[in-house]
Each structure stands twice: as structure tokens, then as C-alpha cells.
Symmetry: C2
Subunit: 485 residues, 2 copies
């Protein structure tokens, strides 16, 4: 527990109206979008200036408490779940778009701007900010940068890190640093900006973000394709890539997910199909027509039962809903939804889906599968109930095997959600001691007292070095629930 | 000087045929592509395995000497110039392309592969590795990664870091780490791979590189456009970007450079024009035609004297030569060529060129200007003579002003060459104490004894903390030559 004297100091930094510590407030900020993880913070600070943040971090070093930055809390790896002896640093009110620079195709935003809000504002001016996480209507740019969020347009347009031109960040010691800028090329010293992207709030608090825009594609075409066999859809994906077409989206849903989506959104999807692909091409009108025609030909060659092509933007939105609703639709079926993001090289998507299916059946679990087929980023999703300890135990064994398979196939344990608390143990298994040691040394060099989002990604000390730090206890408890120790 | 006992140990690690220390060898490796910098190494080690490198780095920590990795030595910031008490670690014989994975659009290479060799090998299979530094026929991939090299295709395709999927690296303590992989999305822990790209050989020795390929564009069109006024060419560039066309190359040459190129390569360029643009568009044939037509229209609107369009690949090569020959052509004029890469947001290209011109005239210097107009990456090039101390002194004053202007305009002191030794002092002025301190702490955490390419990018210790480390002496000497101290 943070002592009252320290809480008083926090209150005087941000003003008492910006410091919350009622039981209701603490409960509201004790969890994020990740199932099974929960920890009460000792308070919630809403900073109103960069200086407030600097003062809070300095105080954290002096008085010895942890600071956990948070945007919308929509993360899926526990990155913004509080740790013991911590306060939440709530950034979602930093929500202004500060400048749209049309000449340099760049936009300055505060970290609390909702991703979809940025999409709307920039598209209205003829630009596109490509990263498009599934949670775009609720997640924030700050969270996207901290987790290096991916999304539906990754295959063609890349992920968040490809669009971060500059950052203003408060470092763990309270120093304020501005890194990067509007020059597209910049190699002046270590890439501090690129180092902070994806560091999951452990190396700095993001206070301003400069993002790159691109010209909005002139045209696009959206298709939904139905298959009686999953392997046919996988072969279509391979064939599209081999034909050197790069769709803006190339997404798939399996039968379980399709049935849930239809039950939830009533889109008229045939529930007997084994898989569907959502394919979107964009660019110049002539190319879009050529690509769409070629793709339809490939779908038919691989025995597609039906290809639905959107005639207009409204129909495209409806087709896209089939994919966008996947998570929400699956989440309705059972009380607990564990959505993961095991990722493999794109050549391994079909074998990986087969392995997931056989693992699910081995442990007698219901899995829905969907995801970004074009870039190998899958979302195996276990529909379960956290009150059923035995089933949760089996689910954890299943995910353990799934991650092991992904790594074996040259893939990774997380394509776009981050490690946070939820996947720490897997990272320690998959990245190897040398890489973890390197991460630990860098964290130690920038945050020697471990005050900024500690105990995320990796444990602060190697396991053999004496007792686990206090704020690791909850992680340990969680890990011990499974068969992992 | 490294003691003989240590040199013997080095000889026994790599085999005596792979350790060079004759006076001739030491002289050959005492400089790189950067003017004015020179330092004899105590020997040159040619490692034949990753284990050799690990052993050398461990020995460096034990016996206390510095290791300077080197590929072709074509760098322009002194990144591979030896420091005192150092050996050169020569990697240019690691030149195999290990695997081209057509399904996952990825290629594994050793760091000594010449960039142009990789271009040829992948283009023959219908793929493109976009980064295209001006020195592509001599520079190595390892050097490109270490410097995060840019090049002619940066505007449309980005720079080296956008294509590095994975790295095998020997860390300063001799540990070997493999980071990244064929998954396009990967957020498992800190981005070690992205941290190493652009770290200028100070954080690890690169031993294998996994690069991303893209499908080779089906068509391209190359144009050379002549202008009587520099401002007309600058306005054409702005107008092309505003029209939402993204050329693969958008390069410019000023009158001094044009005259030198014509004198050198006899391409039939009119030497009275004030500037020329080399413009290349690529993609699907229909789009290439549309874009080229639109661009020609914009050039004419802005008073282009002539637009030459290549009718075929051979003619395109000839037009491209006008730009590719710029550095070599300027280098013939006077004994010493100082080529810099001050970079500004693209909206500032025209004002920056004006500033450079007035600074050159203030200090009575001959400057040629050329560069990547599309991404703001300029190459102000001073034609001088290092034996003329007074003129060199004036040149350094001029560059000081040029860098100050670039930073003032929201740009950077280096767009694609790196900091190395040549721009350390400017980095310390432009990045600010907080950023430098952060870099220093990270370097210290990974290389506590400062054995790997020390004294590059930033001094290892803040100036106030006691005497300058020994291997900084040469930097100090160089800096004192100018008016900078």
C-alpha cells in the first residue's frame, strides 16, 4: 500500500479533483481487456500537463511506488493492469488532434485520441492513417504506440511502428525527451523513438505522437468469399500472394466464428461453410478493378462456394462487419473469452490452423479461429468460463502448446497484443535468456528503481536472484493457476 | 597499442592467415569513405565463424581493446574508421545469400553481401529489395543495417529499417542473440532488432540478416526534367506530392552538379539549366502511364524547359546515370569532397537550398547540391582541399550553419549517413542532453567496458566527468581543427 503521505503529495501535484481513490474508482481501473487479470491500484492520477507526469515519476522514484500508464484499457495482454503498490496514470483525456500538416503528410496527436477519431479526421482531408486495430473505435493512439498495434491493414500497410515519426516522452526519471520529427529520413543517433514504440509503457510515458499519413487510396473493393473447405481458403490466400497482389485486408473466419457472428449480427452468412475470407483491395481505380477480377478468378479456382462483392461503401461496411464483429460475437457465447494472437510466417497459416484444431480437441475445448491470414497473425480464441478451474487449467495447457507450435514454425507468441502480464512466461520460454537479459539491462539502465509499469514483459530480475520482487506476486499467482510452474 | 600477447591470442582465435598487421594492411584499413578522418588500427581480424566473433569480443573485454566492425568501408560518417587501441573486424567476406523464401517474401543474407548483388539476385526472381543507397554497387547489407541506410527509393518505399525482419547479432559481451523472424507482425518483448538497426556497430556485430522483399513492380518509367529556375523545380516537387502521386524516385541536381556530371559522363545535359529532376514512377502499367502523364503536365505547368522520357530500360539507365554519377563527378573537381546529408521536412526543401547557397557564398566556398528532393534528404557537397587549412576551417563553419538551419526547420543533421565520428559534435548540440544521456545509458548497459566501436555517435562519458577517454583523443583533435570547441 502506498502511504497516505505519498497519496497527499500526488493529490497536490495533479489537484484533488484529478486524483481518484474511492473503492469504486479503484475497482473500475483494476482490470483491462484481458481476462483473468485483476489488481486494485492505490489510486488513479489524471495528469493535466507534461510537468504533472514528470513530477509524479520523480515522486515515484523518491517514495517508491509504481506507475501504470493507461489509455482506454482495451489491451489484451494485461499491459495496463495495475501491479501491487501502484497508481494508474490515466491518459485518455489527452485527446486532442494538435496539427494536421498537409504538406508533410504528418499529424501531431495527444496519446488519448481514439484511433477511429484520427481515421475520420484525416480521411475527411483525403489522407489515410493505415493502422487499423480491431478495437479502433475504443483504443487510443498512445496504447497503439505502446503495444505497436497491428490490425487489418498490416499485410499491405504495416503496423503502428511504420507510422510513428516522432514522440514526446517522459522518461522514468522524469526527464522529458522529444525524439524524431517530420523528416522522413533521420539517423541522428540511436533510434530512441523506435525503441519506445512497443515497449508497453515500461520505458516512458508518451505525451505527444507525430504520425505519418499517406494519401487516401482513390478506390477500394470489398469481397466476402465462402468456402466448404478450410484448406481451399488457405490455398486461395497463398495463391493471391504468389500472384503478387497485396490486398489491403485478407482476413479469415472459421466455422465456429461464422456461426457466432451470424447469430449475433444477422448478416445472412451461410452457417454451414467451413471458412470465409474478407478481402479488400485498394488503390487506383484501374488497379482495383484488375486486382478484384484476378482475386475472384483465384477464389473460384479454389472452389469458393460464393463470392459476394460490395457494390458500394454501405455494402462494404456490412461485409466488413462479418470480420469486425468476430471478437464481440465469440465473447457472447461463454462467460470468459481468451483471445490470443499466435503468429506464424504466412506459409504456415494452414498447418497452424490444423494444429490449433487438434490441440483444442485434445483438451476438449471450444475454439473459434479468425484473424489476419495475409500476414500470418491468427486469433485462436478459447470460449471458456473462469469459474471452471479445471477447464481454465486445460485452456492454459492448450495455449502453451499453441505458442510452442507457433515458435517451432518460425513464428511468435504475440503478433500485435504485446506480452504484458499475460504472456510473460511464454516470452521467457521463447525469446531465450540472452534476449531477456538484454531487455532487463536496458530496462534497468533507464528505470533503475523499476517504477514504470514494472513486472510487465519480463520479470525485473532473473528468477534465481533471490526472492521475487513484491509486485511480481500477482503474476506468480496467476501463473501457478496453470500447469506452468 | 594492443600488446603483442593479445595480438597472439587474436591470431590463434581466427588463424594466422586471417589476422593482418603489416604496415600496408594497417594503412589500408585506417580510413573509410569519409574525408579528413584517419587512424591506424593495431590489426585486422577476419573472423570465419560466429564463434570467432564471440571469442574476439570476450577477449576485448578481458584484455581491454576496442573492436571496429567494417564491411566495404564506404560509409560517409567515419563509422568504420578505427579508434585508438583497436582492431578492425572485417566482415566483407561473409558474402553469401543464404536463402530466398518465395512464399514468405524474405531473404537471409550474410552481412558482407553487396547491396547491388542482392538487388540482382532477387529481381531475377521477380522480387524487389527496395533500399537503394547511392553506393549500392560497393556497400554491404551489414553496413546498410548498421547505418540504417536510405537511398533513392526512400520516398515511396522507406529505408533499410523498414525491411529488416530479423538479425543474428553477437553482443559486446560475446553472447549471440537471434531476434525477429519471418512473421511480419511480432511484438514479443522489446524490439531488439529495431534497436540494433542504425546503432552504427556500437551495440552488436551483425552476422546474419533476414530481409523483407516485395513483389517487383511490373512497370516503371524514368524521366529527366530540365529547369531554368531552381524554384520551378522545387514547386514541381511540392505539386507532385500534393497531387498524391508517390514516385519511386524524385531526385534533384543543381547547376554546379549538372556541369560536373556532364563534364564527367557526357550525357548530353544542357549545362546552362539551373536544376534537373530525375523522376521515376513504378507499379502496374496502367498506373505508371497515368502517373507519368500527370507528372509531365505538372512539370510543364512549372516551366520545365524539357522533359526527357526514357523509351526503354537502357535509356532509363542512362537518365539515372545523371543522378547516380553526381558524387563521383563532384569528387573529381577538387582533392577533397565533403558530402553531407542535412535533411529537412519536404516542405522546407526550397528554403533550405536557398540557405545553403547563401551560406556557401558567405564563406566563399564551392558547393554542389543534389539529393532526394521527395523526402527532404539533401546532399550539400563542399568541393575543397584538405591541405588548405583555412578553407577547411571555413567549410566547417559553413556546415555548422547548415546543420543548425536544418534542425531549426524541423529537420535533422543526418538523414541516411549516420553520426559516426564526423557528426558527433553536431548530435550533442542538436539532440539535447536528455537524449544523449539516454543513449549513453543504453550503451553502458550493453557494453560496460566500451569495447565495441567506442567513441562513435556520442562520447562515452559526459564532457564534465573527468578527462576524455583515450580513444576520444582523435575525435578531439579533429574537432579542434574546426571552430567548434
Amino acid at each position: 500500500m502506498i502511504p497516505q503521505a505519498t497519496l497527499s503529495k500526488l493529490r497536490s501535484i495533479v489537484g484533488k479533483e484529478n486524483f481518484l481513490d474511492s473503492p469504486e474508482d479503484k475497482i473500475s481501473y483494476s482490470y483491462d481487456g484481458t481476462p483473468l487479470l485483476k489488481q486494485l491500484p492505490d489510486g488513479i492520477a489524471i495528469p493535466r500537463s507534461v510537468e504533472h507526469i514528470a513530477q509524479i515519476l520523480k515522486l515515484a522514484n523518491e517514495d517508491g511506488f509504481a506507475v501504470v500508464p493507461r489509455g482506454s484499457g482495451s489491451g489484451l495482454s494485461g499491459g495496463s493492469v495495475p501491479v501491487e503498490n501502484s497508481i494508474v496514470l490515466l491518459m485518455n483525456q489527452w485527446n486532442r488532434i494538435l496539427e494536421i500538416d498537409r504538406q508533410n503528410l504528418a499529424v501531431w496527436v495527444e496519446p488519448g485520441v481514439i484511433t477511429a477519431t484520427l481515421h475520420e479526421a484525416t480521411e475527411a482531408l483525403g489522407f489515410l492513417y493505415p493502422p487499423d486495430p480491431g478495437s479502433s473505435t475504443i483504443c487510443t493512439i498512445g496504447g497503439n504506440v505502446a503495444e505497436n498495434a497491428g490490425g487489418l491493414r498490416g499485410l499491405k500497410y504495416g503496423v503502428t511502428k511504420n507510422y510513428v515519426l516522432g514522440l514526446e516522452v517522459v522518461l522514468p526519471n522524469g526527464d522529458i525527451v522529444m525524439t524524431g520529427g517530420k523528416s522522413v529520413k533521420d539517423v541522428a543517433g540511436y533510434n530512441l523513438k523506435d525503441w519506445l514504440v512497443g515497449s508497453e509503457g515500461t520505458l516512458g510515458v508518451i505525451t505527444r505522437v507525430l504520425l505519418k499519413l499517406i494519401p487516401k487510396p482513390e478506390a477500394s473493393k470489398t469481397m466476402l468469399v465462402f468456402y466448404d473447405k478450410l484448406s481451399d481458403s488457405a490455398e486461395t490466400v497463398s495463391d493471391i500472394i504468389a500472384s503478387k497482389i497485396t490486398p489491403a485486408a485478407l482476413e479469415f473466419l472459421d466455422n465456429t466464428t461464422i456461426k457466432c457472428v451470424e447469430d449475433y449480427a444477422h448478416l445472412g452468412l451461410p452457417t454451414t461453410i467451413q471458412s470465409l475470407l474478407l478481402i479488400e483491395v485498394d488503390g487506383r481505380p484501374s488497379v482495383v478493378e484488375e486486382d478484384a477480377a484476378k482475386i475472384i478468378e483465384l477464389c473460384k479456382k479454389h472452389n469458393a462456394r460464393e463470392v459476394r462483392v460490395a457494390a458500394n461503401a454501405q455494402e462494404a461496411l456490412k461485409l466488413r462487419t462479418a470480420r469486425k464483429a468476430a471478437f464481440s460475437a465469440l465473447a457472447r457465447v461463454r462467460p470468459t473469452t481468451i483471445l490470443e494472437d499466435a503468429t506464424v510466417p504466412r506459409s504456415e497459416v494452414a498447418p497452424m490452423l490444423e494444429r490449433i484444431e487438434s490441440i483444442a480437441s485434445k483438451y476438449n475445448l471450444t475454439f473459434g479461429n479468425f484473424g489476419h491470414a495475409g500476414d500470418g497473425n491468427l486469433h485462436p480464441t478459447c470460449l471458456t468460463d473462469e469459474r471452471d478451474t479445471a477447464e481454465i487449467h486445460r485452456a492454459e495447457k492448450a495455449f502453451d502448446e499453441i505458442f510452442t507450435e507457433a515458435v517451432k514454425m518460425g513464428g511468435t507468441i504475440t503478433g500485435e497484443h504485446g506480452v504484458g502480464l499475460a504472456k510473460m512466461r511464454f516470452l521467457e520460454k521463447s525469446a531465450g535468456d540472452v534476449a531477456i537479459d538484454m531487455m532487463r539491462r536496458i530496462k534497468q539502465s533507464l528505470d533503475p528503481n523499476g517504477i514504470l509499469n514494472p513486472g510487465k514483459i519480463f520479470s525485473l530480475k532473473p528468477r534465481c536472484e533471490g526472492p521475487m520482487p513484491k509486485n511480481q506476486e500477482q503474476v506468480k499467482k496467476f501463473l501457478e493457476m496453470g500447469a506452468f510452474t
